[in-house]
Amino acid sequence: MAGLAIYLVFVFIAVFADQIATHNPTEILFTPDYDLASDIPPGQDGFILGTTSLGRDIFSQLVYGTQSALLIGLTAATMVAVIGTLVGLVAGYFGGVVDVILMRLADIAFGIPFLPFVIVLAAFLEPSIWNVVLAMALVLWRDSGRVIRSQVLTLRTRGYVEAARVAGSSDAKIVFRHIAPNVLPLSFLYGSIAIGWAILTEASISFLGFGDPETISWGTMLQDAYASQALSRGAYYWFIPPGICIILVVVAGFFISRGYEEILFPKLKS
């Protein structure tokens, strides 16, 4: 419940970002006496959380950062869930060569160190928040795919599936009508942690300098704060809030997935 509440708040913020934000998050602002509005502490001159070293409003960035976070998180989660589910269903139901190929692909994906892979990919492509999503789609279906496959293997031998087959139902119908609904909770579970992974990964990538500095995200905010030595400046109002927001969203993902124990479980079944 707590998780859902947190999400609703963030979704609300993301949707009404234009109304909530007090400034344009990327605009370089000036003080009334035409000086650059940089490093202004919270509360002064109408800057709720102060400004960055480049004179941008931190509060507004935080608000707009919600959009990127939800966007990255939800797309990545959908990708991981959809790809993983499809792979699991197909491999588990059809078996044979398809299964062998898909599971070997999963083996390869398990051999790819994720964060280094995102770094290489980000260097290869233009800096963009979508690199993280792409990398997740390419690699992180492995966990959900494998677990769902083993689930499908047991489901396939169940009586009602056998019955459907005998009754002449098509493969597609059996897979989507009879088997898929039973593995959806698993897909949902893996999707939920993927939200957190995506947001954390985006933050790490931005921190390492491979992010897209044109996009306002909590990751690029932290990167900006770090590159501008916010800690040495004592600008905690700049460095702490994006971190808290990340934690809240990621934890909310954990809560929502309910069976969080299983999420943090390494699935060893193959």
Partner: protein, 551 residues
């Protein structure tokens, strides 16, 4: 008639831009791309690019800022010279650049436009003449007049929008090092060889511990590698001459040097110099050092020695350098540049390398041997390099050891300076304001700021319209509020610039270049005078000019 903003420079204005035949009258200017490096790598550049882009948009231009890492940017700017519009760029200050020749000639002479340093494609025959003349002029006052003229031409043409000469900011712990022993080198700052030799310890801590954000690439006297690496090579190896704190070459391993005639230099070696392995430094070693790069094994040093026709050993201490033709820069560019290396070590190495694909640049000595004031002691990958003071050297350092720590995290470097983990902050690219606050709070730190020889600017691709029009470039440059940039991006830790010759080079700098107009209104006037028009908020070319590069 085109108007220029500096009356002084009108005389040097180039012809107007070549207008293409009219298809339709004055098409809108395409979206212009401005390249910059990521904030993490270049916070100041990133900031001033954002500020400037915002100003230029007010002229009716569509400016797209493209952020890319240095390697990618270098690839575009250097190797695809026709494909970019504008880029943030910098020239870094090096002791050799104390002579304006490199920057004035290489950056703007038309002969270097195809593949050399004139990557912006600036071509002006008037300028070429002046740049060539100063090269062979040996009378200092006459040469200064030529350098002044060159700067004036550039100010009129604005091939680049010059922005700032930043301060080099370094700090040290004044409870560890005697402040009077710190040497400030003009245009370079206190992080220099002279400081590392003269720093005198006040207490028990006798090790200079300094930081670098970059890893050490190589410790190799025949390879010009990363900037940090050169701090080490300058200490481990001697050169015949060294650029002094005043920017002029002074005798070093050579006791004296003398121009016998236009093409002959006589060099007298110092007595009793020793390699770090105990063998004596001989005239043979010196001859070898200048001849080694002539083959293909040290390509980066080759350009510095090609002017030498022959080297003759007169006696144990004396050598004669015979040049192919007169070259005024030989002393600075060659004698003060080439490292003296031991023949007994490098001769066999080079002859082995001769039969392989590799050259001396990929050869890393286990224990580098030079004759310099510091000896190599140890190197642990990506963590530190330790040098030991060479007590037998003619200019033996007062410090015991010189320890370079690799610290990629700037905040951590500041923390280390306060805690004493380092006692000399030799690499600091962040906001100097923070450093000063830190120093004030700490009380033990001394921060020293020096105007750099190097500079920051926005390079225009002079090959591509609309940047082929000096009036357009002038307008853009005029629109930039340099005072704001200095204040906002550099936090007042830079001086504004309108010349590639830094005020740090007092003798050569042309002060008059700074008498320039500034402001959006003036920029709009320049554009209007040149026939540019704003229609529906969008800047259009002058009548009859069409956009040839629309993407």
């Amino acid at each position: 008639m085109r108007r220029f903003f500096t009356p002084l420079t009108v005389a040097f204005a180039v012809s107007t831009a070549i207008a293409t035949p009219a298809l339709s009258a004055g098409e809108p200017i395409r979206e212009l791309h401005l390249l910059t490096r990521p904030q993490a790598a270049q916070p100041q550049e990133f900031q001033f690019i954002q500020l400037i882009a915002q100003e230029w948009r007010k002229l009716g231009l569509e400016i797209e800022v493209d952020v890319m890492p240095w390697e990618q940017m270098a690839d575009v700017v250097w190797y695809n010279r026709d494909d970019w519009d504008m880029t943030g760029w910098q020239m870094v200050g090096r002791p050799e650049r104390s002579d304006p020749d490199e920057i004035v000639y290489n950056l703007f002479h038309s002969s270097t436009a195809d593949s050399g340093y004139n990557f912006i494609g600036y071509e002006n025959p008037e300028f070429d003449k002046v740049a060539e003349a100063q090269r062979v002029e040996t009378d200092a006052a006459a040469r200064r007049a030529l350098i002044d003229e060159a700067q004036a031409i550039l100010a009129a043409d604005q091939p680049n929008a010059m922005l700032a000469h930043p301060f080099n900011t370094f700090a040290y712990d004044k409870t560890v090092w005697d402040p009077s022993s710190v040497v400030e080198q003009g245009g370079i700052g206190i992080r220099n060889t002279w400081t590392f030799l003269s720093l005198a310890p006040l207490g028990d801590q006798k090790d200079i511990i300094l930081n670098s954000a970059d890893n050490i690439q190589a410790i190799n006297p025949l390879f010009i590698s990363g900037a940090t690496d050169s701090w080490i090579t300058e200490l481990v190896w001697d050169r015949l001459l060294r650029i002094g704190p005043d920017g002029l070459p002074q005798p070093w391993a050579a006791e004296a040097y003398d121009w016998v005639d236009d093409t002959t230099v006589e060099v007298v070696l110092r007595d009793a110099m020793m390699w770090h392995d105990g063998k004596p430094v001989t005239a043979e070693d010196v001859k070898f050092s200048f001849e080694a790069p002539l083959g293909d094994e040290a390509p980066m040093y080759k350009p510095f020695v090609t002017s030498i026709d022959s080297i003759e050993i007169v006696d144990d201490q004396t050598l004669l350098f015979k040049l192919k033709e007169p070259a005024a820069a030989f002393v600075t560019a060659t004698l003060a540049k080439v490292n003296i290396i031991p023949k007994h070590i490098w001769e066999p190495i080079l002859s082995n390398l001769g039969s392989t694909d590799d050259n001396a640049e990929s050869y890393q000595e286990e224990t580098p041997i030079g004759s310099g004031p510091y000896k190599f002691a140890s190197w642990s990958t990506n963590e530190e390099v330790v040098l030991e003071g060479n007590g037998d050297h003619f200019s033996a350092p007062k410090a015991e050891r010189w320890i370079l720590r690799i610290v990629p995290n700037t905040e951590a470097a500041l923390g280390m300076l306060r805690s004493g983990e380092i006692n000399f902050l030799s690499d600091f690219t962040a906001d100097p304001e923070i450093l000063e606050t830190t120093a004030t709070e700490d009380g033990d730190l001394d921060v020293v700021k020096t105007v750099d020889i190097g500079f920051r600017y926005i390079a225009f691709n002079n090959r591509r319209p609309p940047f082929n029009d000096p009036a357009f470039r002038n307008a853009l440059s005029t629109a930039v509020n340099r005072d704001l940039i200095i204040r906002a991006a550099f936090k007042d830790n830079a001086v504004k610039s309108n010349s590639v010759v830094s005020p740090a080079l007092d003798f050569w700098h042309n002060e008059a270049t700074l008498e320039m107009d500034s402001g959006l209104e003036r920029a709009k006037e320049i554009l209007a005078a040149a026939g540019y028009e704003v229609i529906d908020g969008r800047l259009h070319y002058p009548d009859g000019t069409s956009e040839t590069l629309g993407k």
